[in-house]
């Protein structure tokens, strides 16, 4: 018990780092996903292909390889200098973005064609139709799957400890190597991740109830 109390300030620092990385990466990832989904559905073959290649490449390779590619691979060019935190953020964002893209694309396609026809017949152009009619309905429908991907991405951030990012997992490892109490410390880590994820799913069900399709 004492070990845990003594290590709480350090774990708190780690938790803040994890949440910082997660918050930025998930917002960037969502934007990447939205852009890729729209490119995937755009009426231009070239754009469809660019998005498809990106999505397939990310979904078809392991997260760790993507992380090493960005942190070690890209950093080997003189004009790239990403510190380990930003390399981690970029990797989580790109990785989540590829999955978000498919979720958003499926969400957009799940909306009845009649919605677009009604909007266009009123004189709204395609981007107004997306913005006011399709995306608001699609997002409500996608919320559970989006939350699911956000939870996976949060768990992925623990892999950033491999490149030395001082996140929650990395702090835990440091404390374990100093205290030799892996059982207590890793249990505490697990509980902390669990609580964040539990809060995320609470937030998601709140939003779902709030924006339920009437």
């Amino acid at each position: 018990m004492d070990t845990i109390i003594e290590s709480l300030p350090m774990l708190w620092e780690g938790l803040k780092m994890t949440l910082y990385i997660f918050a930025i990466a998930i917002v960037l990832g969502f934007l990447i996903g939205l852009i890729m989904a729209l490119l995937r559905l755009a009426p231009f073959k070239v754009l469809n292909w660019i998005a498809k290649i990106f999505i397939d490449a990310i979904r078809g390779t392991p997260f760790i390889v993507q992380l090493f590619f960005i942190y070690f691979g890209l950093n080997s060019f003189s004009w790239v200098s990403l510190d380990n935190v930003w390399a981690g953020i970029v990797t989580v964002a790109i990785n989540a973005g590829a999955y978000f893209a498919e979720i958003i694309r499926a969400g957009i396609q799940s909306i009845d064609k009649g919605q677009t026809e009604a909007a266009r017949s009123l004189g709204l152009n395609q981007s107004q139709n997306m913005r006011y009619i399709i995306l608001p309905q699609a997002f409500r429908r996608m919320l559970p799957t989006i939350t699911n991907q956000a939870i996976i991405s949060l768990k992925d951030t623990s892999l950033l400890s491999i490149i030395g990012v001082a996140d929650l997992t990395q702090r835990g490892r440091v404390i374990v190597s100093a205290t030799f109490e892996p059982f207590t410390i890793y249990l505490a880590l697990g509980v902390m991740y669990f609580i964040i994820i539990y809060l995320l799913s609470l937030l998601s069900s709140y939003l779902e109830r709030r924006f339920v399709l009437r």
Binding site: A118, L122, G123, Y132, R214
Partner: protein, 242 residues
Amino acid sequence: MSMIQVSNLKKSFGDLEVIKDMSTAVEPSEVVCVIGPSGSGKSTFLRCLNRLEEISGGHVYIDGADITDPKNNINEIRQKVGMVFQHFNLFPHMTVLENLTLAPIKLGKLKPDAAEKKALGLLDKVGLGAKAKSYPGELSGGQKQRVAIARSLAMDPKVMLFDEPTSALDPEMVGDVLGVMKDLAKEGMTMIVVTHEMGFAAEVADRVLFIDGGYIVEENIPNELFGNPQHERTKAFLSKVL
């Protein structure tokens, strides 16, 4: 000048030639009903008029403007052409009022206050003033369709297109919707109505078009078309539906 002019319209889906050659004109304040067998291309014809379908050949002019001319902005042309669908297609995430005000506000036609005032007036007119704050999911089919008509009217269209507006409704709801459409016709709205309601066509239409096999087989005033059809195909169709 005709409100709508269709000349040598053609429309194919891949190898399927749905509209082979159709020409007609609709004058301001005219009410034209379109009848024909299921699958004969009635919806396709209507959807070509506001370019929801890209036409394969010929020309469509709305109020003098060629809808496929790249110099004309199709979104501006569509603002003049209201469309009412068989399945209503209301926006389920918005209140009834928001369904009516979205387009006028976002397209810069009216300020929010004015759009709301106009919308409430239109809802009163279709008998749904009390439903402004409801969501479409809380309405019956007949109420939804009346909201859909009001939504189109909120843009002050010059023409209204109706694609079987009552065929998804329970029988007891049909009368209210047809009533709203009759009022519109009386006020002088130019209307094209695809319908199976022969009674409505006989009562309200200035002219009835019978479509079959990719052509306008016959068009005439309702009395003549229903009472004295000239073509075998018209006779065969009418003997089934009358």
